[in-house]
């Protein structure tokens, strides 16, 4: 794993020398409001190296606010955000990156018209030469891009092609490979499987495990418990800005997870309404009870 060497990062990391008893990243009672709207309240979370923490919740639950705080796009208004045991408030994505927190967003933070290697090194370009002759080390960047991607299992014919020509799953993998390469200690994945089909989702989930095995602490945001459960070590459930549960894998099953997320009371109401309109509510009742539907014989 390679770390970005620059003065600010070193200063930051010095401040954050890992104390043996502390976790990599901790949130304690973190909250954020936009004017009079409370987007997030009283959220606790722990992220450790080599572990996957899943953040689950429906739309409007506050998941994106949470990652924006961790990734440095916003600052929290209440609670504590600790990195290596020291309290921190990240002023910008640049500061977060220097501290080792990398986010891979749903819209991927890649520029479609630019070649893959330029995207890979965007914001962290390698240069050679000095003074006015400082120039991009193009060959080195192309080589590293190709190498890192193939290490992650992506075999590209040409890193010069615009990244927009890759499929959604491939772009996700490039973004993840980029974060891993640049020494991310914490990797945040914002709904990576939301727009992908079954096969592509499988591929991305495999990369999440790969990143975990490399020693990163992974935060996996999703609204799909069937994707979260296989790869997660702990699960944080958010609803309307608050935490409604924080479980480790041993404490909960996938059915309980699904039920908690869907919200039993709302499902019952929905079933009642549909029955009145003449629909079939049995499947909904099954889901509420946590019964997995059997395929028709």
């Amino acid at each position: 794993m390679k770390t970005r060497k620059n003065k600010r990062a070193e200063e930051l990391l010095e401040k954050l020398e890992p104390k043996t008893s502390d976790n990599l990243l901790t949130l304690k009672g973190v909250g954020k409001h936009y004017g009079s709207i409370i987007a997030l309240r009283g959220v606790d979370m722990v992220v450790d190296p080599g572990k996957v923490t899943c953040v689950l919740g429906d739309n409007g639950a506050g998941k994106s606010t949470l990652i924006k705080i961790i990734a440095g796009l916003h600052q929290h208004d209440e609670g504590e955000f600790n990195l290596h045991g020291s309290a921190i408030k990240l002023k910008s994505p640049r500061v977060a990156l220097d501290a080792g927190i990398a986010a891979v967003y749903q819209d991927l933070a890649v520029v479609p018209l630019m070649p893959i290697w330029r995207n890979f090194f965007l914001g962290s370009e390698l240069t050679t030469g000095i003074g006015p002759f400082k120039r991009l080390d193009v060959q080195k960047m192309k080589d590293i891009t190709k190498q890192e991607l193939s290490d992650m299992g992506i075999d590209l014919r040409d890193v010069e092609q615009p990244i927009g020509q890759l499929s959604g799953g491939e772009r996700q993998c490039v973004a993840i490979a980029r974060a891993v390469y640049f020494g991310a200690k914490v990797l945040i994945l914002d709904e990576p499987t939301a727009a992908l089909g079954v096969k592509q989702s499988g591929v991305v989930l495999r990369y999440i495990l790969q990143a975990r095995d490399r020693g990163l602490g992974v935060i996996f945001i999703t609204h799909n418990p069937h994707h979260a459960y296989p790869v997660g070590d702990s699960f944080l459930l958010l609803k309307r800005g608050r935490s409604i549960g924080y479980y480790s894998k041993s404490e909960i099953t996938v059915e309980e997870l699904t039920a908690q997320m869907a919200g039993g009371a709302e499902l019952a109401e929905l079933a009642h309404e549909l029955e009145q309109l003449g629909g079939h509510a049995e499947e909904l009742a099954d889901a509420e009870a946590g019964v997995i539907p059997q395929a028709a014989p």
Binding site: P93, A103, D107, A109, P112, M114, G123, R135, I154
Partner: protein, 354 residues
Amino acid sequence: MSSVTASPSHKKTAGATDERVGKKSTLSVLLGRPEIGALVGAVALFIFFAIVAPVFLAPASLATVLFGASTIGIMAVGVSLLMIGGEFDLSTGVAVISSALSASLISWYFGLNVWVGVVLALVVSLLIGFINGIILIKTKLPSFIVTLASFLMLTGLNLGLTRAIGGSVSSPSIADMEGFKSAKAVFAASVNIAGIDVKMTVFIWIAMVIIASWILLRTKVGNWIFAIGGDEKAARAVGVPVVRTKIGLFMAVGFCGWVLGMHNLFAFDSVQSGEGIGNEFLYIIAAVIGGCLLTGGYGSAIGGAIGAFIFGMANKGIVYAEWNPDWFKFFLGLMLLLATVVNIVVKKRAESSK
């Protein structure tokens, strides 16, 4: 096509050649460049005028065409970079005149060596760019609107301040002031090459294109410019300094305006304060013909230069061909449209062949 393999343990070292990748021929690499369409258009136009007006091929004529192209080209360099970065600047036409007027009026009013005026004009031009950028960032209005406002304000300032300070609508003559001769030699002289007088602006233009291309393709800032124009949110999310780069781009345009303004001043001595209006669109057209996407994120400084050259050829070629002058503007528009269409057709073919 790329393959996403199931087992990530399948590794390849970067050095080993991938047998599926045929060595991309130089030709297909060339065809992929953004300027290729403009180049084809330029060659076509050149041949057309060479046939229609034999005097077009005379070296003296070519020097004149290059001169006409260079005064658009110098600005097209900055405007291209800005367009790749995703923004427009409509105040460029009058900003050139503002720069010239600043140098002239300051030198004249305070009785200074004109070089002092030249340096202060540079400060003014960079400041105009800076202000354009700051207002854009703070108000989050589209650059079209912000620079339209500065275009109007500069137009008024040009007229008002010239009359208030100099007493008329054109700046007073400074030809008899110290430093004028040396400044003229730098900004408005001609260089004699094999008996032909080539104006200084041509060389300045070429030098600026080279430097701009270097910055765009071989430096960090260039990578940032492409990123900001292609997807500003993505760039910001990975830590690219968007604000600084955008303001820097506007200041670069200001610098180009200073260069052209100084040529204007030392070539014509007295600057008409109402000039410059309308040129801003020519600079944008040159950049677009040269392959810069209006939406940003794609293009090149060389493309902008070719676009300016096409404009110069069309503009002067019509005169060399001695066509009916009433139809001049129509022919000019038609030439530009055809050049742009050729540009798009060639680009499509280049992309489909990949």
